[in-house]
Symmetry: C2
Subunit: 404 residues, 2 copies
C-alpha cells in the first residue's frame, strides 16, 4: 500500500464534488451545511447507531442505503432532527428531495445526516433554499475539502480527515474520509459522523462488507464516554472511476481495499478520541488471550469506559488495581491465575499476583500523551484493540456548565 | 411496621457484641479493625461481588457462608487483600482462625472482609494480635456501634447506619445494618460492604432469600460510577433471640421481615450514593412500562451510569435529550412513539416528541438536592427503581490527583 504523503479530503477520489457553507442553522453563523455529490450513481453502504431512539435522518438514510446505490449526501450541523416524530422524518425526506431535484436523481439515492441540538425541528425555511444555493458551489479540490470537513463539525476543536491511495491490480484507487465527533452541540449529545468517498469499482455487497469490518474494528472499539448518540452514522460512496476491475468477491483486490478502508477509519477514530471532550491523553487497550471475540470486546469496552481507569490515566497514576477491577467486572471469562497485565510494556500483574513493577518507569510511561495497556487473559486466542481517552475536569465543565 | 425513632447499630438486635479499634494497618492511625460476634451460632447469608477477580476474603467468606451458619465476622480496612494469590487466601483464613480460636467456634463459622489498597499483602503481624486484643473489648451499646460503623470506613466522609424494628406475630424483631462505600482507599478501588444483624429466628434458606431480594432491589440498583469492586460484600447474621416462631417458609412473617430488611438496605444504599465520591446530588430513576424486568434494569443501569446524564444533573441542566440517548442505547426494547419521560413529575417527552415543558419549572427541580426521572416505556408492566449521583470535578480530583 502506498500511503499518501498529503492528507486529502472527500473530493480527492475521482468522481466527486462537494460544497460546504452556511445556511443559518447555527446561531454562531458558523458553517452548517454540506453537500457531497457524485458525478454518477455510486455503490453505497452505511452503518448507523444501534440506538432504539434513532434520529429521523438515521431512519431515512438507513432506508435509502438499503438498495446499495446512492448519488449524494446532504449533511447539516446545528440541529440533529432527533425526537421530532413523523414531522422530523418528513423534514429529513424534504432535504433529500431538495438535493435529488438539483442532481436529477431518484429521491432514495440521497442520504442525509443531521447533528446538533435535539428535540427541535429543523429550520426548513433556511435549509431548503440553502441546499439549492450551495449546489451552485459544488467543486473539487483541497479548498472545498477543507470547507466540507469544517461544516460538519459541532463543538469539535479540530477537523478530522484521513486518506489512502492503494494500488489494486495496477490501478490507483483513492479513499478519503472526514469525521466529526466528541464535540457536544450545546446542549445535547455527542454524535459521531463519518463520510468516506472512494473511486474504487466495487459492488455494494462487498462495499458493505468492507465498511462493516472497518467500523467494527475502529469506531465501534472507541469510547469517549460510552454514551451512544442517536445520530451516529458512517457512510461510504464508491464511484468506480478508478477503473479497476470491479471488486465483486473476496480475494486480493478486496483485501487491499478493505485494508485501506480500515486504515482510513482507524485514523479518523483516533482523531475523534484525541479530540474527545476534555481529553488530554489517548490510551490503547490491547486485549489478547480471550476465550471469544465477545470476551475480548467486553474487556476492552469495560476498561475504556471505566471512570476509575479514565481518571487514573488523567492523573498518570499506574493504578493497575483499577484495570483488575475492570477486567473482573467485564463479564468476560477470567481466571486471575492466568491473567497478565502490562502498562507501557511493563508487567504489573502476572498470574494472580503483583508483578512488583518499577513504579518510576510506570509513571514515566503514564505521563506520556499516549498510554498502552496490555491485558492477556491467557484463556484463548481472540484479541481486540480498543481506544479510549482520559476523564478530566474539563469534561465536567463542557457537559455540566450550561443550561438547556 | 414500627419505625425506630433512633438509629441503632449492629449490637441493637439481641445476641450480638462487637468492637472496633486500631491495629495499625492504616498509616493515618485511624480505626481499621472490627469484630462482630454473636453469643450463639446464627443463621447467616451473604451476597458477594460478581467480579471474576474477587478478593481473597470474598473467596473465603463465600465458602464459609455456604453452610448457612456463622458465629462472627472480622473486618479490616486499609488493605483489601485483593490480587494477592494463594498467599492472600491463607491470610484471610488466618484472620478467621484467629477469631474462631477466641470465640471457640469452627473456622468456617467466621466470615471475613477486607477493604482498602489492593495488590499488597495484609500486615498479618499487626492483624493477628489485633484480633486477640480487640476481642477483649467486645460489648453492646450505642458507643461500640458508633466505633464499629467508623472502623469499617476507608475514605467515606460519613458513617452509614440503618435500623428497623418489626413486629412479627407479637414478637419485636430488630434489624440493624452498617455499610461503607463510595470512599476510595488511596489509591485504589471503591468497595461496598454491608453488615446486618437481626435477632429474628429464621432459617438460613429464608434469610438468604430475603437478603438476595433486598440486595437486588437496593445495592444492585445503585450506581456511583458503574465500577464494581472486587470486594463488594453484604452479610447478615440472625441470632434468633427475638423469640419469634422461626420463619422457615414464605408467608406473612417472612414478608414482614423481608420488608424491614429491604428498608434497611435501601437506607444504607441511599447513604452510600449520597456519600458518593464528589457527589453533590442524588437522583432517582423510576422505570415503568418495561417489557421485562431485565429491560427495566437496563434502562435504570444505563441512565445512572451515563456520564452525560450525571454531568447534566451536576449542572442542574434539564437536558432530556441525554435521557433519550441513554434509553436508546440501553439495550431495552424501546418504541419512541410509546415512550414518556418526566423530570420532577413534569413531562418532557411524550410519545415521540418534545412535550414543550416549562424550562423554568424543570430547572427549579434540577437545582434541588434530589432529582427524579420517570421513564415510562409504555410496553409492559415491569418496573425498577434506580439510584444515582452526579459527576463532579471533585470526582476527578479524588480519583486522578494522587499517585500509586
Amino acid at each position: 500500500m502506498t500511503e499518501s504523503t498529503q492528507v486529502h479530503g472527500v473530493t480527492h477520489p475521482r468522481g466527486f464534488r462537494a460544497a460546504g457553507g452556511t445556511c443559518g442553522i447555527k446561531a454562531s453563523g458558523k458553517p452548517d451545511l454540506v453537500l457531497i455529490v457524485a458525478d454518477n450513481t455510486c455503490a453505497a453502504a452505511g452503518m448507523f447507531t444501534t440506538s432504539k431512539v434513532p434520529g429521523a435522518p438515521v431512519i431515512v438514510s438507513r432506508r435509502h442505503v438499503r438498495g446499495g446505490k446512492a448519488r449524494a449526501i446532504v449533511v447539516n450541523s446545528g440541529c440533529s432532527n432527533v425526537a421530532t416524530g413523523k414531522d422530523g422524518e418528513r423534514d429529513a425526506l424534504t432535504m433529500c428531495r431538495t438535493l435529488a431535484e438539483q442532481v436529477g436523481c431518484p429521491l432514495n439515492q440521497v442520504l442525509v445526516c443531521s447533528t446538533g441540538i435535539i428535540g427541535r425541528r429543523l429550520p426548513m425555511q433556511k435549509i431548503t433554499p440553502g441546499i439549492a444555493s450551495l449546489y451552485k458551489d459544488l467543486a473539487a479540490g483541497a479548498d472545498v475539502d477543507a470547507k466540507v470537513a469544517t461544516a460538519i463539525l459541532t463543538t469539535d476543536l479540530v477537523t478530522k480527515t484521513a486518506s489512502r491511495t492503494v494500488n489494486i491490480a495496477g490501478q490507483e484507487v483513492r479513499l478519503a474520509g472526514i469525521a466529526k465527533g466528541s464535540g457536544m452541540i450545546q446542549p445535547n449529545m455527542a454524535t459521531m459522523l463519518a463520510f468516506i468517498t472512494t473511486d474504487a469499482a466495487i459492488s455494494p455487497a462487498m462495499l458493505r462488507a468492507a465498511l462493516k469490518d472497518a467500523v467494527s474494528a475502529t469506531f465501534n472499539r472507541t469510547s469517549i464516554d460510552h454514551d451512544t448518540s442517536t445520530s451516529d452514522s458512517a457512510m461510504i460512496l464508491a464511484s468506480g472511476e478508478a477503473g479497476n476491475r470491479p471488486i465483486t468477491a473476496k480475494g486480493k483486490p478486496f483485501s487491499a481495499f478493505a485494508a485501506a478502508l480500515l486504515e482510513v477509519c482507524a485514523e479518523l477514530a483516533y482523531q475523534i478520541v484525541k479530540d474527545g471532550e476534555g481529553a488530554t491523553k489517548v490510551f490503547r487497550v490491547n486485549v489478547t488471550g480471550a476465550k471469544s471475540m465477545k470476551d475480548a470486546d467486553r474487556v476492552g469496552y469495560t476498561i475504556t469506559g471505566s471512570p476509575l481507569v479514565k481518571t487514573a490515566v488523567h492523573g498518570a497514576d499506574p493504578n493497575w488495581g483499577r484495570l483488575a477491577m475492570a477486567v473482573g467486572r467485564s463479564g468476560a471469562a477470567v481466571d486471575p491465575m492466568k491473567l497478565t497485565m502490562s502498562i507501557g510494556g511493563i508487567a504489573v500483574f502476572a498470574k494472580g499476583v503483583n508483578a512488583d513493577a518499577d513504579l518510576n518507569a510506570l509513571e514515566a510511561h503514564m505521563k506520556g500523551s499516549e498510554v498502552q495497556f496490555d491485558i492477556d487473559l491467557g484463556l484463548g486466542k481472540h484479541q481486540a484493540q480498543w481506544l479510549g481517552c482520559d476523564l478530566s475536569r474539563e469534561y465536567i465543565t463542557i457537559n455540566a456548565d450550561y443550561s438547556t
